[in-house]
């Protein structure tokens, strides 16, 4: 009987996906439902939670610091998309070229920062972008006769530091995604194009880019998510969750501030739900525009 059950073609697939379903329910569905419930409550230390209806959400909409954090996260996401999709794609194409020398070296060099802990990298970038004359970047600027700058105290300069950190860290990872995408493009296409007299640029725009589309959409999707949920980079760069004028405060940073630092867990849950909604809306729109939900022919 048991053997029959285990060998059944109907049951087997469910047995195989069961571990995923269990993990999904325990670590995703349950916490999500719990946060959703908590976002309608006021949760205080050592006391029963009180139901407060939509108070947390109405407060959130009038909270200028929350709006600032949404703005910061959105800008960061857009900037990372602008930098971290075209450049890794370009580097991947270059490295994939048969005539490129030292391919293995470049691959590992670009990938190495991803292995470095964000904590370490963030601390090093903080020191590099320090406001003292002796800090590395100010030292370099001084060489060109530029006055020392307070990088981490200004909105634009702060973002330069933050984006440098993100670029340094993630270029290699995205490049690897594109490289694996490039491996799937048959050489025959390029040979045929060469015979037809296509230039390198034409090959790139007419063959490489269209055939890389699934990879690009994947990288875009995870980059949107990663951009909006960025937290540790900012926390390490500003040595804590409190940057001057909140220039580095992200949505997750605000969630952390409210939930962990201020013990306002109900309010923090509402922040989390809003983040989920924003991410889902952007990603679903993007995916449906790029035709990912269309049935394949």
């Amino acid at each position: 009987m048991i053997k029959k059950f285990l060998y059944s073609q109907k049951v087997a697939p469910y047995v195989f996906v069961l571990p995923f379903i269990i993990i999904f329910v325990v670590f995703w569905v349950y916490p999500l439902a719990n946060s959703f419930e908590m976002s309608f409550q006021k949760v205080t230390l050592g006391q029963e939670a009180d139901w407060v209806g939509v108070d947390n959400y109405t407060k959130l909409m009038g909270d200028s610091i929350f709006l600032k954090s949404v703005y910061n996260s959105a800008i960061y996401m857009i900037l990372t998309l602008i930098v971290l999709i075209p450049f890794p794609m370009l580097f991947a194409v270059l490295i994939n070229n048969k005539f490129m020398w030292g391919r293995g070296f470049f691959k590992s060099t670009f990938f190495f920062p991803a292995l470095t802990s964000v904590v370490v990298a963030g601390t090093i970038f903080r020191l590099m972008f320090g406001e003292m004359e002796g800090s590395m970047i100010n030292n370099i600027l001084g060489f060109f006769g530029v006055e020392p700058m307070k990088f981490l105290k200004g909105q634009v300069t702060g973002y330069i530091a933050l984006l440098s950190l993100a670029t340094w860290r993630w270029t290699g990872v995205n490049m690897l995604y594109f490289l694996s995408g490039l491996k799937n493009i048959p050489d025959e296409y390029y040979e045929a194009a060469s015979i037809d007299g296509a230039s390198a640029f034409q090959k790139f725009t007419r063959i490489t880019m269209p055939l890389l589309k699934p990879t690009t959409i994947y990288v875009l999707t995870i980059s949107i998510y990663a951009g909006l949920s960025m937290f540790i980079e900012s926390m390490m760069l500003w040595n804590g969750n409190n940057s001057p004028k909140n220039i580095g405060l992200t949505i997750v940073g605000y969630l952390y501030r409210q939930g962990i630092e201020k013990n306002n867990l109900g309010y923090a849950a509402a922040v989390g739900i809003v983040l989920l909604v924003i991410t889902m809306v952007i990603n679903l729109t993007q995916l449906s525009f790029s035709g990912m939900f269309k049935k394949e022919d």
Binding site: G46, D63, S64, S117, V119, G130, K150, K245, E261, N263
Partner: protein, 443 residues
Amino acid sequence: MKKKWFIGLIVISMVLVLAGCGNSGNNASGETSVLEGGAGEDATALSYWTFVELHGQHFEKMLTKWNEANPDRQIKLNVSVMPYDDMHNKLSIAVQTGVGAPDIADIELGKFPDFLSGTPQLEPLNDVIDPYRDTVVQSRIDLYSKDGNNYGIPTHVGASVAFYNTEILEAAGVNYEDIVTWEDFKKAGIQVYEKTGKYMGTADTSATWQSSMMLAQQGADFTDEAGNPIINSPELIKGLTILKDLQDNNVISTIAGGQPDTEEAYGEFNAGNYATAFMPLWEMSRYTNYMADLSGKIAIAPIPVIEKGMPSSVGGGGTGTVVTKTAKDVQLAKDYLAFAKLSLDANIEIWNTLGFDPVNMDVWNMKDVTHNPENQFVKYFVNNPFDVLNTIKDQIQLVKSTSASPTINNVLCTITLNEIFEDGKDITEALNDAQAQIEQELK
């Protein structure tokens, strides 16, 4: 063959990276050490979390004394030192969930109100404080109290004073002893800047020490009687206007790190770029620990006042040590804590080890303790700190710590002070915005 080499290289680099991660992980979660203090086998092991490494040293001294005096109630202490934010956040989660909290913990004044919200998950300490009530400064105990229950035991008074770098002042021909009012300070500062190109002091953007001093001199506070925020008060506007005027005249300037008690600022002071720090007395330990180059050059004096006759000092900062509800042996932890922080012996050791101004003010007059020539703080500073402390003894004001304080602190230190001193925003406007923001957050 080539491949083997490559694999070898990868393995080595992976091991190095992992080893690196391991180390950083340890640092992030703090360092733990076990203090035996001469305890026997049957000693109860208590855990203690702190964010100040030095506090562990003090507890170690007191532990040996406790174990000698109480052979049947001996203690071993597991001390975990963690970074400030980390420790408070972990502690907050631990007491909230009732799992994993230490028996004893340090909570900084600025974070304390968060732990008092709702029903505090901390043990009231009234019974063990009672025997010492007459000998210590009551207001420092009140800081860590709610509804008549005392939840934290203070470490120091934290009287604010001025630390002057006499080398810079002498080079500019300024005598710090002549500085009484902010007007005197401004004149001296202009002279210092003209003669040496250095700034007289700092304009703090990431801490409210200076704002508190300005309010205390005028008998004002960040909150009213009921504990509601009053950030746009005429007193704070006046105080910040004085500081802004000093900044406009190159007397004070913003400092890397945002305030004197940061790593970057220690470097700036060490390099002799700023002549003055206005800080609570515990800044002394930062001088001896992190600014050794300045030994023999720093003089302590009362903070300048707006008008002669105003009180010059305010109690700044502070740490309340607490016993959590989940402590293994609550009574033992409480008794040891009172012994280690409130007894006369403890107060003497607090000065000897930590260089703090003890809450038992009798110690302030014990010449053999305060003027001990072997004491590292006595050796380091130009004049004796207690000579200054005793002159301002009756002028130490109190800035209240209420449930609104963490929010007030956060808004001032991240937004408002930066807007005023970095961007030059109009003071009244900046403070009005701060008031609105704080009210919105506290809704």
